[in-house]
């Protein structure tokens, strides 16, 4: 499992020095790239804690299972509503 960042939705948390996902990633895997959007250094280093998925205010990050472990396109996103988190799972049928 790893993450995919939708560059159309990510705004790099505006002027913040550190986007929220970059701030919390336990593996120090995310950074702000040259286009001022969040990027992951190496998808293979992601543990799948989903911290960034929950934290992203734009809902721009989704998780998926790698093909190596039978990933077929299903994704997980999350919306944070005050203290609660709502998860959204999509089956892989229409995805890549």
């Amino acid at each position: 499992m790893t993450i995919r960042i939708d560059k159309n939705l990510c705004d790099g948390c505006g002027k913040a020095k550190e986007p929220l996902c970059v701030r919390i990633c336990p593996g120090n895997l995310l950074y702000k790239d040259i286009d001022k959007k969040a990027e992951i250094r190496d998808k293979g280093e992601c543990w799948d804690c989903a911290g960034c998925v929950k934290e992203c205010p734009k809902g721009a990050i989704e998780m998926y299972l790698q093909p190596e472990i039978d990933g077929r396109g299903a994704t997980l996103r999350a919306k944070k509503k005050s203290e609660k988190v709502e998860f959204i799972i999509k089956s892989g049928k229409s995805a890549c």
């Binding site: 799948d48 911290g51 998926y64 790698q66």
Partner: protein, 563 residues
């Protein structure tokens, strides 16, 4: 690049290394007891999502439900761990479990409760929570306590002066800063070690493991290098987990009463004498060896409502399994969940590898404490047990520092550690951390009882592991790193090699099989209480580069103040 790194000096009364369950609680309890004491918690990640609890957890797995006594808890852990444990440590953990749990509740962690407000038991010694937020909740309490927090700093070694631990060195993984942190006492709470063995999954899925891949044994390694006594590394922890997504199985087996079935549909655990944690793993491995695999946890008995509740429970701890169901196009009650063993971990909160400590969680080095996964002798302490150890260590450190004076640090030892730490940044050629990591994982897998060798070891194989580890250690000085992130990855390998070397010596020394699967010697297949009902400990001599084994007798519960 090395020349751009600035040396920053900090000073504190008590330095806590690691902001997980043990470290956060240590910081909070010290500040509650004495708000004037300066406490600094340093974390390699960011305390809000660091360590093994980053994804969350759906139960408090060490809690004494009504009717369960601290002695019952000790008896359970003892039985599950082939009798050879530190009862004194386990008893003192048991005494504090419920208070730690109530603090989590008070801080706002969502517990599942009945109409009267009582916790809902998951099993005898566990209660259900909706704990995806456990780390943010702990971190908030830590910040509110007044403890200082330094995130994104990888601690690399202790500052040892006249044999006493008086601080630590480290570097920022994001800024060009090298830290010298002086302290009167240090509490090590860095967690255990994953990534020593080749993992279950290949390639880009390699970090799809159970324990955090970012917990790489720094605390053990620093203690080893400083000459602290370590215990029972040979009792590794290998978990029974869901295949591919490596999600915990207790949720299914205990929380949702799923039965273990083999491919013939037989409830195979009935054919094995013991039902303890390692024996459920052993039974599953045996069914596979003997051709009755794959094995499953059967979830087909769940009604739709329960199946939804199961999904919800996993969302709070290991959401990847929901993607597996989605990819397969099934609901959790349409087919069983296949199970397997993980790669071996070194983790004192589940098995008992770690620092040899006294009841106050003092290590054998003056000024140094250990708590949580990095502390040995007390298996199954989990989240709340780690918190209790943090509290015990913190409160004792508070007393200890009253008689400790500040120290002067010789510049030469700062320079020496600086050069050791940042050295790879200056090399343009050499091994990458990833290459060294894979070399370590392969040799441990093949010669020190990894997945591909069915977790079994014998003397000849272990001697080969020793040889390969020694040559790997020699090659570590030929590594290169082109960023601070890679520099962190490099030190994560250095630390795991030091842990692996000690592990192999422990596995070689114990000439019996005490902990099936975790410590399985094919050349000594029986448990031998007459000769081996004792602890295998070790101390590393850095000058001679030798690991010396010390045998320690089992003393039972001993004298506890209020037992």
């Amino acid at each position: 690049m090395k020349s751009d790194i600035q040396i920053v000096e900090l000073e504190t009364d008590i330095l806590v290394i690691g902001g997980g369950a043990a470290g956060c609680y240590a910081g909070i309890k010290i500040k509650e007891e004495d708000e004037d004491v300066n406490v600094l918690v340093v974390d390699k990640g960011q305390v809000e999502r660091s360590g093994c609890l980053a994804a969350g957890i759906n139960a408090i797995n060490a809690y004494l439900n009504p009717g369960v006594t601290p002695q019952d808890f000790v008896d359970y852990v003892k039985k599950d761990s082939e009798d050879l444990v530190r009862e004194d440590l386990i008893y003192t953990i048991a005494q504090g479990l419920n208070k730690a749990t109530h603090d989590l509740d008070k801080w706002g962690l969502p517990f599942i409760k009945d109409k009267e407000g009582n916790y809902i038991p998951k099993g005898k010694r566990s209660v259900k929570i909706k704990g995806e937020s456990i780390k943010p909740v702990m971190a908030k309490a830590l910040y509110q306590s007044g403890a200082r927090v330094l995130n994104r700093v990888n601690i690399t070694n202790y500052l040892v002066i006249d044999g006493k631990v008086r601080g630590a060195f480290g570097f920022s993984v994001r800024e060009n800063k090298f830290y010298l942190i002086k302290a009167k006492a240090v509490i090590c709470a860095t967690g255990g070690a994953s990534g020593i063995y080749k993992p279950n999954n290949p390639g880009a899925a390699r970090h799809k493991i159970w324990y955090s891949p970012f917990n790489t044994g720094a605390g053990y390694a620093m203690g080893i290098r400083a000459g602290a006594e370590m215990t029972t590394f040979e009792m590794r922890f290998i978990a029974l987990r869901t295949k591919d997504t490596i999600s915990p199985t207790g949720t299914l087996a205990v929380g949702f009463k799923a039965k273990q079935l083999n491919s013939l549909g037989e409830e195979y655990q009935k054919n094995y004498s013991k039902k303890s944690t390692p024996y459920r793993l052993l039974a599953t491995l045996k069914e596979n060896f003997e051709g009755r695999g794959p094995c499953y946890l059967d979830t087909t008995h769940l009604d739709d409502h329960k199946a939804e509740a199961l999904k919800e429970a996993y969302l709070h701890m290991s959401p990847s399994i929901l993607l597996r169901w989605a990819n397969r196009g099934v609901e959790p009650n349409e087919e069983g969940v296949e199970i397997c063993g993980t790669e071996p971990y070194i983790v004192g909160g589940h098995a008992q590898a770690g620092y040899w400590i006294d009841q106050n969680r003092r290590s054998t080095l003056e000024g140094l404490y250990a708590a949580g996964d990095v502390a040995g002798g007390a298996p199954k302490k989990y989240v709340t047990g780690s918190m209790v150890e943090g509290e015990i260590a913190g409160l004792d450190a508070l007393e200890y520092i009253r008689s400790v004076e500040g120290v002067d640090v010789d510049k030469s030892i700062v320079k020496e550690e600086f050069n050791r730490v940042v050295g790879p940044l200056n090399r343009e050629k050499g091994f990458t951390p990833r290459e060294l990591e894979e070399r370590l994982q392969k040799l441990m897998d093949e010669y020190a009882g990894g997945i591909s060798s069915n977790y079994r070891v014998n003397e000849t194989k272990l001697l080969e592991a020793r040889r390969l580890l020694n040559s790997l250690k020699e090659d570590l000085v030929k590594a290169r790193a082109n960023s601070l992130h890679q520099l962190m990855n490099f030190h994560e390998v250095v630390d795991r090699v030091d842990v692996a070397r000690v592990l192999v010596e422990h596995l070689l020394w114990r000439k019996e099989t005490r902990w099936r699967v975790y410590q399985e010697r094919t050349d000594y297949p029986k448990r031998d209480d007459q000769n081996w009902f004792k602890f295998v400990n070790s101390v590393y001599d850095s000058k001679e580069d030798q690991i010396k084994i010390i045998e320690r007798e089992h003393k039972g519960i001993g004298d506890l103040d209020d037992h």
